[in-house]
Point group: C2
Chain length 271, copies 2
């Protein structure tokens, strides 16, 4: 029996667990799809690495997913999307979806005063990937871009509503308030877990654009237009989680980011 | 002309810049020695990785330093010392010095009430390397060990006296105060930069044991007993800094941790 392309899994990768917020959104929007997720936990994080190193790691992640027969790949990491997406798309004959274009599109739909904020890792902000795409799409937009490197550890350590996290996020968001942005892109897959706190700090009138939901929606559109979406009669899709390292606290983190229980996480080698 | 072993450089490695606090202490105590430092910035940090992965990375760092003719190696990283030191020492015919035994020795000399605190990364604390060595050396000692994973990013981002850092450090140190420890081991090479704040929180009567100074002193003793110390007539030693990745903010970080200007940092590959 031949497996049709539609029945092949969707691949997704990130430096660690952050990309699982994207996978959670994919599970909600595309419940029949099988998903193969790779977290490069042996080299996490990517946000403080150089562009060349991020491209090299992203290629290795991509090769692993391709060797497992995925029909499309989601680069579920803002830093990897910023530096490596164009290279991966050029080298690939299957669809490769990043998190940046969907976030930019959502931000441009949401803003009314054309003032948009972006927070992300050093790598994402320094790449100017969001800034360039926003300006290319709408030249009059005013952008406030802030590197917020402390947030990833705070999220991973589950200090989501700690007074210190409040203080830190308030400091990062202060320039956004001063610039009177009405839309803020959470340009890191860890940040959806900080959405309630960010909304409290910025006020209810500011729209927070979440990488996860918009990337999942872009994936759904691509599967439709490429005619490789799995039929909804296939039942609930399976999820397979692999990681390049399995430190002690990893499975607890996976369940918190994914929002569902996972029986087994496999350690894999990319070399 | 043959170079004598005494004139060979000392090697030191860490996952990133933290080990430069140890190098700074080595420069003060052993000013004539040449030093070759390797920061594994392509895979930093080690504190959230598994023991097997830390051992693999440490072996690769060691091989790099050996191939450049070092006469002794300092494992200038608490996490690598905790998991990989015994393996590296077994496989090596030159002296390999870690940061843990010197810290334990200093803590045992300092304590008067036999209550000792340890703060470090998840990897260092979970390894129980400090706890086991303290108990083996003096069974009646009472230990309070706390994983403090948020501190590394705060130090690297230079938030050394920020109110958020105060809040976070206060929370980590609260169990130490409750246990009435009179000595705290700063079991991560990043933490010497937080010494003033930690001292303010714990009070002036608590002794803070610093990995860096004690490891440098242990190295000096080893060079003496192995008769491979460079003669003080050799002038000021040179320092060479290599890293497996050179992200944008790296040279600024190097100067802050090392406390001196560095002309050139080379990117090297370990494979």
């Amino acid at each position: 029996m031949n497996t049709s392309l539609s029945d092949c899994p969707i691949g997704a990768f990130d430096s660690g667990v952050g990309g699982l917020t994207v996978v959670q959104a994919m599970r909600e929007l595309l419940p029949s799809e099988d998903i193969l997720y790779l977290g490069d936990t042996a080299r996490v994080p990517y946000g403080n690495k150089s562009p060349d190193t991020i491209i090299r790691y992203s290629r290795e992640n991509m090769a692993y997913l391709r060797s497992h027969g995925v029909k499309a790949v989601v680069v579920a990491c803002n830093t990897a999307s910023a530096h490596a997406l164009a290279v991966l798309q050029k080298e690939s004959d299957i669809p490769v979806i990043g998190v940046i274009a969907p976030g930019v599109e959502a931000a441009l739909s949401a803003t009314r005063n054309q003032r948009i904020g972006i927070i992300g890792t050093h790598g994402t902000i320094q790449s100017e990937a969001y800034q360039n795409l926003l300006r290319q799409s709408r030249s009059e937009v005013m952008i406030t871009a802030i590197a917020a490197p402390l947030l990833v550890s705070l999220v991973e350590e589950d200090w989501l509503s700690h007074p210190a996290t409040h203080l830190i996020l308030e400091e990062y968001l202060a320039p956004m308030k001063a610039a009177r942005v009405d839309t803020v892109v959470l340009a890191c897959t860890h940040y959806p877990l900080l959405k309630p706190l960010a909304q409290r700090i910025l006020g209810p009138e500011v729209v927070l654009v979440d990488s996860a939901q918009n990337a999942a929606a872009a994936l759904a559109r691509t599967l439709e237009t490429s005619a490789i979406k799995r039929s909804s009669g296939s039942g609930k899709g399976r999820i397979t989680i692999c990681a390049t390292d399995l430190p002690a606290q990893f499975s607890r983190l996976v369940e918190r980011f994914l929002g569902e229980k996972i029986k087994k996480i496999s350690q894999v080698s990319l070399s």
